[in-house]
Each structure stands twice: as C-alpha cells, then as structure tokens.
C-alpha cells in the first residue's frame, strides 16, 4: 500500500471538498427554505473568483502587493463575500420572488436563465481568456513552498489556509443557524413558511438573508479556488456548480451538515477515483455524477436528509 499516495490524495480531495462544501451550503440553504434549486449559484461562485482577482490586481497583484499579504487575502475574501452576497439578494429579488407562488417549474426555468445570463455577462465584460491568480509567484512562492512537506505528504501553506478557513466558515454557519435569532427564524421559515409568517417573522427578509449568506459563501469559495487552482474564466461556475449541487444532494438537500459532508465526500471520491482507477483522470467528472445517480437510486434523501412528509 502506497501510504504517501493515499495521504496526498486525501489532502487533495479535502481541499476540493471544502470548496464543494461551501458551494453546496448555498444550494442546501436555499432549497431548505424555498424548495428551489438555485442553478445560478455556480455562477455566483465564478463572480466571487473574479472579484477576488480584481481586488488582488488592484492592490498590487502577486509581485508587488501594496498591503501586507494577510490584509490582502482578507480584503479579497471580504470583497467577494459582500459582492456575491448582494448579487445573491438581487437574484432572489428579481429572479425568484416574483415567481414564488407560481408553479414549481417557473423558478427553475428562471434559475437556468439567470445562470446563462450571468455566465454570458461575465463573458462580455471579462472576455473569454483564462485569467490567472498567479499565486505561485505570491511572496516568492512561499505560500506553496512553506507548509507541511514530509516524505508522506506535501501540504502547502495555501492549502492549509483554505482548509482552515473553510472549516471556520462551516462551524460559524452552524453556530449562526443554531444560536442567532436570524438563524432560528430561518429554521422556522424552512419548517413552515406560512406559520412563520403568522408568527410575525419577516419571511422576505429571512429569505434575502439566506441568499446573502449562501452567496457570500460561494464567493469565498471562488476566491479559494483562484488561490489554489489559479485559473478563472467565465464558465468555471458551470461544472463547479453542478458538483456543488451533487454534493448538496448526496449530503441531503436542505441539510446544512449534509451539505458539508456531501462536499467533502465528493471531493475525496473524485480525488481517489482519479488516483486509483484506470484512466481515472480521463473520466474525472464522470465519477462525481455517477455518485449522484447512485445516490438517487439507492438513498434519494442523501446521507443526512429527511424524507418529506406530505399530508393527505
């Protein structure tokens, strides 16, 4: 058994999984509250990556940052979170709220349309060329040469930062949902929207907050993606969004812990499949969607999801 290969693939899969988890959280939160699949969510992730890139470039880029690197990274994350948060609120306000009482298919079609709109708007504004974060040149490459480098495994400082940040965000989100008033209101709206409204909860505001938080997480995931995987382009949200959606479904759509678990699971499955299966990298995306189909057939509620109880 090649333990070094296993350890390295685990690290690689965990990094990917953290990003998928952050995207999946947005899907799960929105589905939990609105029973809507927000297919534009992957493109919010893409916009987050671009916002991070522009902040990074405006503040001096990889070679000559005008502020300390810790502040630079913080600024990138905050800008992406805030920008994508507001984008998410706008998507909800103009794309989904008018259709809230329509047939279920209407917001779904609206979601698909919004996805294409955002993608093609990005193409128009940013161009089709792949842009690079060039983080391997950041601080003379120290973010990749420093870290944990042993015979067993190589984990760069950048990956450690991404994994740690993702863990803090996930724990923070769980605490937010569990212990804050807005979190409790969100759970109430997810449980029974009408009853929550009758209890005096401002449902529109709660839904907007959920979209803000979910989109902010996707924006942060976009920056993380750029920091680790360098290349950002206008259609990067399509596959990432589909994998985030798969993670949400595998974990149990509507379940926040499920989304986190699903994201990590998908990331690890993808990494192990590429590393161990014959021609694994050729069919890299296939394994993830195979898991989705298998889960739908064997356990449609996902790992931690609950079956809907319908009244007669």
């Amino acid at each position: 058994m090649d333990w070094s290969k296993l350890a390295q693939l685990t690290v690689d899969g965990t990094t990917l999984g953290c990003m998928y988890a952050l995207i999946a959280l947005g899907y799960s939160m929105v589905y939990g509250i609105l029973k809507l699949l927000n297919f534009a969510h992957g493109d919010v992730f893409m916009i987050g990556a671009f916002i991070g890139l522009f902040v990074y470039t405006a503040l001096g880029g990889p070679l000559t940052p005008s502020i300390p690197i810790v502040l630079l990274l913080t600024a990138m994350f905050v800008a992406a979170a805030v920008g994508c948060g507001f984008l998410g609120v706008a998507i909800e306000r103009f794309g989904y709220r008018p259709l809230r009482n329509s047939a279920r298919i209407a917001p779904l079609i609206s979601a698909l349309g919004l996805s294409f709109l955002i993608q093609n708007s990005a193409l128009l504004v940013f161009g089709a060329s792949i842009r690079s974060y060039n983080t391997f040149e950041f601080d003379n490459g120290r973010f990749f040469t420093l870290g944990i480098h042993t015979n067993l495994v190589n984990v760069s400082l950048m990956r450690l930062i991404v994994i740690a940040s993702a863990a803090v965000l996930m724990v923070g989100l769980m605490a937010y949902i569990r212990y804050t008033a807005v979190g409790k209101a969100s759970r109430a709206v997810a449980f029974d929207r009408e009853a929550a409204e009758m209890m005096g909860i401002d449902v529109d505001r709660v839904i907007a907050t959920i979209f803000f938080v979910g989109s902010a997480l996707a924006g942060i995931a976009g920056v993380m993606f750029g920091l680790i995987f360098q290349n950002v382009f206008h259609y990067m949200g399509f596959i990432a969004g589909l994998k985030g959606f798969t993670a949400a479904v595998v974990g149990g759509i509507g379940s926040i812990p499920g989304a986190m678990l699903g994201g990590l699971f998908i990331g690890l499955v993808e990494s192990y499949a590429v590393g161990y299966l014959p021609q694994g990298s050729t069919f890299q995306d296939l394994w993830v969607f195979f898991i989705l189909i298998a889960m739908m057939l064997l356990r449609p509620t996902g790992f931690l999801g609950k079956a809907d109880i319908r009244r007669a």
Binding site: Q8, A128, S132, F144, F229, M236, S271, Y272, V274, S281
Partner: protein
Amino acid sequence: MKMRLTALGVIVATAALIAASVQAAPSARAISTAGGVSCGKTATIGYMGPTTGAVASIGAELRAWPLFYLSQWNATHKLQIKVVEGDDQFDPSQASTIAQQFVSNSKILGVLGPGSSPEVVAAAPLFKRGGMPYIAATATRSTLTDGSNGHFFRIAPPDSVQAQTTSDYLTRVMKAGKVAIFDDQSAYSQPLADAVQQLLQAKGVSVFRSSVSPTASDYSATINTIPNGTQVVYLPFTNPAKMQLFGSQMTEQGKKIAMFAGDSGYSTDFHIEKAYFSTFAPDIRDIPADKAIINAYFKKNGANAPLTTYGPPAYVAAQMMISAVAKACTDGTATRAEVYKDLLKVKLPTSILGHSIQFTPKGEVVGARFVIFQIQDGKPHVVQK
C-alpha cells in the same frame, strides 16, 4: 371568401419568391466560379480567425500580421487588396457560417484562415464546393492535406512532423527512458499525443498514457498517478494556462520532472522554468534579416502588439495569397481556380521564417519543420531549429 383569396395570394407570392431565389442561386454560383472577377485595380480576399473568443489573444496576432503585410502591399503596389473579415471565435460552427458567406461573396478570390484544425474541417466542405483556395497559417492536424479538403494550403508543418521532432528530441537529447503523456481530449491534443506515444514506444521508451478532462481545473490527483522514475511529462494541451497549472502543481507536490509541451507553449501564460515546447515557427527576433520588418510592425501596431510564433506564419500566408491573386489578376480578371493554380507556382526565395516558401501539390510547405524552445529565466530560447 375574402380570407380565402388573401390566403391564396400569400401562397402564390411565396411560391414566386422561392422560384425567383432558386433561379438566382445558380447565377450566383456561376459568378463565383466561372466568369471571373474584375480585379484590375482592386481585388478582395477573406480573412477568418478567432478575433474574439477563448483564444482571442492568439487571434489578435493571427489577424495583425496578415493585415500588416496587406498594408505594406497596398502602400507599394497599384493593385489594391481589400479584405473581408470573419470572426470564427475558435468555433467550428461559426467557421462554417463564415465560409458560406465568403463562398457566396463572388468578389472573394481566396481566404486566409481558418485559425485551427477543427475550423478547417468545418469550413472545408463549403470552400471545396465554392472552389475557394485557402491558406491556414497554423492548422497542424496531419490529415488536413489528405486531399479531402479542397484547395487547402498551410504554412505550419503537420503534427506528424511535430510528433517526429518531439520524440526524436526526447530520446536523442533528453535521453528519456520513461515518459508520461497526458492529452486534454481535444482534437489537436489526442492525435498528437497518440503519435508521440507510438514513436517513443517504437524506440523502446516506457510510456504512461492518460488524459485529463477538458473541464478539469485541478490536476493534483492526476499528478499523483505519474509513475515513479518518470523523467519527462509530455503535455500537448491546447490551453497554455492549464499547462502552467499542471507544472505549478507538480512543483507544489515536489515532483521534479521535466515538462515538454506542444505548440501552445509559446505564450506568456506558460512560463514553467526549464520546460520545453515545440512550435511551428522560430522566434523571428533571432533572425537578423527580419529586424526591419519587426520594427515596422511595432511602429504600425504599437510596442505591445503581439509577436510570438503565430504571427509570422500568418504574415507568410498573406504574402503567398496576395502574390497569387496579383499574378491571377495580371489580365484584369481572375477566378478562384486561377488563384489556386498560381498558389502552386508562387515561390518566396526567402521569408521571415528564415527559409524559402513553396507549396507542394498537397498544400504543405516544402521543408517546413518544428522548432524546440526551452524556457530559461522566464523567456523562451531556441534549443533546436
């Protein structure tokens, strides 16, 4: 009754319109292929390339250089050449649409482009039907000159030459006994990777062969599959940014393996130190005789105008096409068939590529070869001509 008469009138009018169009079409075809176009003072050619889209940066250079030659020609010759441009966006479906437009335009005597092999394949049936001669500067798929693509010519040598050059360099110079090859599942990358694999295996080299998904953004797990003891990783990807990521992630994982890329390696997006790549043209900045042309190009297009290995073949393509058109227009009229015949006769004793240019009957340049570069101190340097 009134409604029925109106409906009948519409049907009759539509039928008449269709009949008129059908009658007109043969005439349009006749103009484009039979009688010839008047070209005593001006002649028209088409340009097709990826002006916008995923490879717009390459497209900018593929466009700038032939237009530069055009401006030089028009400044010094009585016969003025006009160009009709089409943007194929690196998309075969766009290429076939533009090809149809060009063929239908009776004034167009020849076309520069398309920019790459998939677009050539898409445009070829239309160009063939319209008898249009066309020169693709940098389309390298080996099968393009098998006779099925009409009056097709190219300046860059085919991938069969690239595969031979690459495998020869890997074994003779780099002494590689164990090579890993990854293609990106594109129409360019896969056949080239297959060809290099076959040639290496014939020379007794151990080859690990795989591919990466075209939508992959992370190669960490793929890099883990590279067998121990691998001396060279060969990556003929179409996108230099993806090759850059692959190389960076190899460094991140501590894998000190030499990299060898295909002809997209000549790009500012690919700068892995000590990596090699093969490409279909030399760096013309290394050719002293080209200094005046290079200075004139930058003077016209600005100091930041693109110059890699894509522009010079496009410049040469324009030279050949315009020379053939001028030759065909000597008597004041020309047809596409005449331009095609003259393309086979035109010879440039010297060119900015450092060698003479003449087409074989199949449409290849006689003696065309690939050049190998290595990135040293962040810049590409020729290591084999």
